[in-house]
Amino acid sequence: MSPAEAAWIVLLLPLLGAVVLGLGFRVWRGITAGIIGTAAVGLAFVFTLITLFGLLGRDEEGTRQIASSLYDYVSVGGVDVKMEILVDPLSVVMLLVVTGVSTLIHLYSIAYMRGDAGYTRFFAYLNFFVFSMLVLVLAGNFVLLIVGWGFVGAASYMLISFWYRRTSATKAGIKAFVINVVGDVGLVLGVILLLKETNSVDFLDTFHSAKETFGEDGSGSLTAALLLIMVGAFAKSAQMPLHTWLPDAMEGPTPVSSLIHAATMVTAGVYLIARLHPLMELSPTAQTVGAIIGCATLLVAGTIGLVQTDLKRVIAYSTMSQIGYMIMGVSAGAYVAGMFHLMTHAFFKALLFMAAGSLISAMAGEQNMNKMGGFRKAMPFTFLAFVIGGLALSGIPPFSGFFSKDEILAGVASEGGWHWILWGAGIFGAFLTAVYTWRMIFRAFWGPPVPEAKELEEGHLHHAAEHRNPATGEIEDTGVGFPGPEHHIAERAPAMRMAMSVLAVLAVVGGILGIPHVFTPLEHFLEPVFEEAHALHHVDTSITVLGLIVGSLAGIAGIAVAYVIWAKPTTRGEASTAISSGWQRRFAPVHRLFVNKWYFDEIIDLLIVRPVRGFGRWAHDGFERLVIGGAIVGGTTGAVRGASAVVRRLQSGYLRTYSAVVLTGAAVLVIYFLTQS
């Protein structure tokens, strides 16, 4: 089987799963649905491996790039849009990440979502998401890319609003969808601009003709097109200022946060920039914008993550921050490093979310960290997963995040000049990352056990007396559209434990794919794709080593600070909150700024939402009601009614009047003819 055929099957399987589950939700209600969904994605992973080995079996020179077309989708005006996939090392790496992590998360969901009334629907949605993501990744031209881009947005919307009777969840879904559509519009406009210049939507054609079309130094229209496309990338990857949907997206079930809003979909922007690197290389302006936005996002998200109390939101801000690293990396030309970090991040962030899901289950749905504590003994496995994920996220050697993050920073720094500022910000971001990650871990697992933890230590899983929305405190039932009545923790669900174990192992050893200057199979594999990229080949050893040392020191320092603040036992033998609350008082304005997420929601509300809503209100109250409804519609009906009132009086019902009218008409006619003759 050729790699392209295998790739088509990879694409087909999740779609099949989604259709089967979506149509058969009456038949497969219980665990069968989960098994079907997992099997579809698992088989897709197997075929991805076949694709990978097929590709590895080929020559390195040029033949590892296969464009396979099923049929002509549209052929009009000299533009030929094919139903075409592009199989090359870059897309295969993405395929591996997407199908692999998806398989594990499906496995996790089999147990985690048990008891939910929408179990089958959940898996249908998940499979649909995987299909959409694969379309996005495998797309061989911009049109298919946009299709996949839109599909993942829709899947994200459906899954965020999965508990559709929760008002907060539906609102978050709408918010995510709207912001993503803003990005979609940018992407589509950018693609149209490119199409206008290159007269092609095919990736390979566009890349090959880019230099002739736009010149060696790029042009204004290319920069404009790339900036528009990057708007799409930023919206999907939750970069500033289009990031506000991601924290709210945590309203979705935890596996969704893990799969879509940490491991796969939000990294689509990174993939897009890496995919378009031949164009990015031609436009230094676009690269600069991407690097700065990524850097700003990683810092802002890190600071917000320091003060959030919602467990999942902390991880969400951490995701934003890590994607900031990736965007910064791929925008600065460190494509391999960006993809490497994308992969390792998928491992440890999915792991962290899964562990967080387990912990939230133990708290019976409660997500507030202020109410957690002392779970170390009660949940040893979850604790271990958290620690591994936290270490990897903080960039502690030899965990995976250590290598990938520092490779990005080394790649950025090797650009020289002002890029060293980005490098410094990245190191500071790493420090922040370590602090907020370990703040989370210390607050949840250290300190005196909370009642739920004690209950669990005695072997009984806490169940709340009545189910509540963790965000608003509203009382809910457990029917369709609300979370189910059961809670599942990793310690008791083998499926969850299995998925988390695999990810934990990957989070530990994932870095082996890219140990700088020692063992770099990933770089070697991806090299043909990026061989024209100028930043790839000359990363100085000194920079790398400096980054590795400083980065790991920053991570360790962050963990130490977090320990001192949140976990160090005081003389009385228990963790003190004195330091953190003291700092809160001393830096009250800064704390307020962070807690309110830098007022991004409020700024967007003020600048966009309110004017639009004001305009809408005016259009409704002023224009629609008065002009359309009052003057035009009302005027028309009024005129018709008035005229018909006059005419209606003629319809008296008196037969004799009618005949008199007819005769009058006849008489008038005769008189008329008489006067005419």
């Binding site: 179990y119 369709v480 005769l663 008489a667 005769v670």
Partner: protein, 235 residues
């Protein structure tokens, strides 16, 4: 001779027509119409239209007028109330009628057609207006109008039967017979035995009252609102 006959018949026709319109008793009005029709047939004879004149007498005076008289007698020819609902309309319609008469008269007499002033060709053949002549025309040149007219008569005859047959249920509040129930009704329904309650003790069940315009209990409405969607439940 012609002139005398014409003036006698013409004046009779006009006077009888006026009588038809003005006589308050419908019976007299119809009789006045008969006089009018007879004088018209005389005028037809003067115009050498023998066949039409005979048909006028036989069909109109003989058949149609008898029908009028019968119906009049059946309905009970009550005199019209005096005054009427709209006196201005009455005056107006008289004015219109006069205007019509005057204008049409002017139009006919004032026309430039010379032939109007003449009586037509002097030597007309004996076959003019004879049954043979007309019959030939009807079956050759005017076959289609002839058939159309016969079809019209058929339709009118059936229509009259449908209109005048004995039935109920024209207006709300009337009882309507449920025809399906007729099939289901027990044997002997409608007989004398049912009348004394021996067969169908509840004869009212054979008919339904048409409710006076309230929509209660319409068959399309279901009593319960649709149940909440529970298809997804796994428990």
């Amino acid at each position: 001779m012609d002139e005398i006959l014409f003036f006698v018949a013409g004046i009779a026709a006009i006077v009888a027509a006026a009588g038809t319109v003005l006589l308050r008793n419908p019976f007299y009005a119809v009789l006045s119409l008969v006089v009018h029709l007879l004088s018209l047939s005389l005028l037809f004879l003067l115009l050498y239209a023998q066949f039409v004149a005979v048909v006028q007498v036989m069909v109109y005076v003989g058949a149609v007028m008898v029908l009028y008289v019968f119906v009049n007698a059946y309905v009970g020819g009550s005199e019209e109330p005096r005054g009427g609902s709209a006196p201005t309309l009455k005056m107006f319609s008289y004015a219109i009628a006069v205007t019509l008469a005057v204008t049409i008269g002017i139009a006919v007499l004032g026309t430039g057609l010379k032939a109007i002033d003449g009586a037509g060709p002097e030597n007309i053949p004996a076959s003019f207006g004879s049954p043979a002549n007309i019959g030939e025309l009807l079956l050759t040149k005017f076959l289609l109008p002839f058939e159309a007219a016969s079809f019209l008569l058929l339709v009118a005859a059936i229509g009259a039967v449908v209109l005048a047959r004995r039935r109920r249920g024209v207006l709300t509040g009337e009882e309507r017979i449920v025809s399906a129930m007729d099939v289901l009704a027990p044997a002997g329904t409608g007989s004398m035995r049912e009348g004394v309650g021996a067969i169908n003790p509840n004869p009212g069940a054979r008919s339904v009252r048409i409710a006076p315009s309230t929509g209660a209990g319409a068959p399309g409405e279901s009593a319960d609102p649709p149940a909440r969607d529970t298809t997804e439940g796994t428990r």
